[in-house]
Symmetry: C2
Subunit: 191 residues, 2 copies
DNA sequence: GTGAACTGCAACAGAGCTGATGCAGATATG
DNA sequence: CATATCTGCATCAGCTCTGTTGCAGTTCAC
């Protein structure tokens, strides 16, 4: 049955849910079409247990998406987007987001149903992001004529790219520095 | 049977193959897990016809990937990567690539088997790309200390992002201009 | 400690997809 | 025009996945 109504699960059940979601992220990141059986195996749980906690594949994925989106929103807030100096906020947020995104890459790339919790969270995050960019522009870090929506999209693209062949799994702060530098200055020669 | 050996298909059969590949691109772009039946329907062809031309789903997808990669390589060559002035080449290549990528988005994003034709083509394209960037660097368009592999990855990311919510389906030249501008100067204030 | 909640296991029906085959009719090619 | 090729259609077997149920054994919570 669906667990839309959260009727205070027992401690072990709650743990099961967490383990299942983590396994789902790992397995689906590698193969988005993986079966419930594979997810169950990766979670060290019987397939029926997944079906007891999630009505169907769809429900599992939606829960996964919201859960990850909530963590992402937290990562952004932790960077103090509207109190820290813009450049500091950008660095901190970027490093935080890189850590969350590397752990929940699949869940955060899911195309979200427009009126899902995940979609609302992502919209809120985008607004936060734009707000930081506006503060940066006010500080002359960004060109006055810049289209901030494009800048935000470029920023997202840089985040994604940094996590792609993350074989090096480099330090988030190093990656963040490169992202912000590229975002603000591109590849051209420095003054 | 597999058609690895191309034994001069009849004209109508060749046309069928093309129609199937185009349909596969369209359908799979929207839903990567779509069935052969759906692809056949989109192609206006019986499902059995697909199976006659392609041994299995895998073979169809590989053909799709190579075909698209070949077109992409052509698009790059058409920009005269090693004779035109670097900035001109970058613009032309970008505009060409945008057109091909918008038509074959799914096929070109496929994770290619390391020793497939598609993979070899993509490697060649990446080399070409690096070569252009080196020429741009020699012309002081790119910082001397820049990591060209990172620059190339950023370039790819910008291309991808530009095609994402291509609702506007803007003029390739306009998009290309923005990509190159962002790549070289970022979002910071202009001198 | 007692009862309720949770889990694994086994088994089930239903659905969808794949790949193959045979045949009859249409179409290109020389 | 004659033949080889191609296609649609109908049908088939086989597989995998999903979602459910019943039961027996374990674990949490009060």
């Amino acid at each position: 049955m669906g667990q839309t109504a959260t009727r205070t699960l027992r401690a072990d059940a709650e743990r099961s849910v967490r383990v299942i979601l983590e396994a789902a992220e790992r397995v689906l990141a590698e193969d988005p079409g993986a079966s419930m059986e594979q997810i169950a195996a990766a979670a060290g749980v019987a397939r029926t247990t997944i079906h007891r906690r999630f009505a169907n594949r769809q429900a599992l994925i939606e829960t996964l998406a919201s859960s990850a989106a909530r963590q992402l929103a937290q990562a952004v807030e932790d960077g103090r987007p509207d109190t820290a100096p813009p450049l500091v906020a950008m660095h901190r947020i970027t490093a935080n987001v890189l850590e969350v995104k590397s752990a929940w890459a699949f869940a955060l790339e899911l195309p979200a149903d427009p009126d899902s919790e995940a979609a609302r969270l992502h919209q809120g995050i985008a607004r936060r992001c734009i707000a930081v960019l506006e503060r940066a522009r006010a500080d002359k870090l960004i060109d006055e004529a810049a289209d901030l929506d494009w800048v935000r999209r470029v920023y997202y693209a840089l985040l994604r790219e940094s996590l792609q062949d993350n074989a090096a799994a480099a330090d988030p702060d190093t990656l963040a520095a490169r992202i912000i530098d590229t975002l603000l200055h591109g590849a051209g020669p420095r003054a």
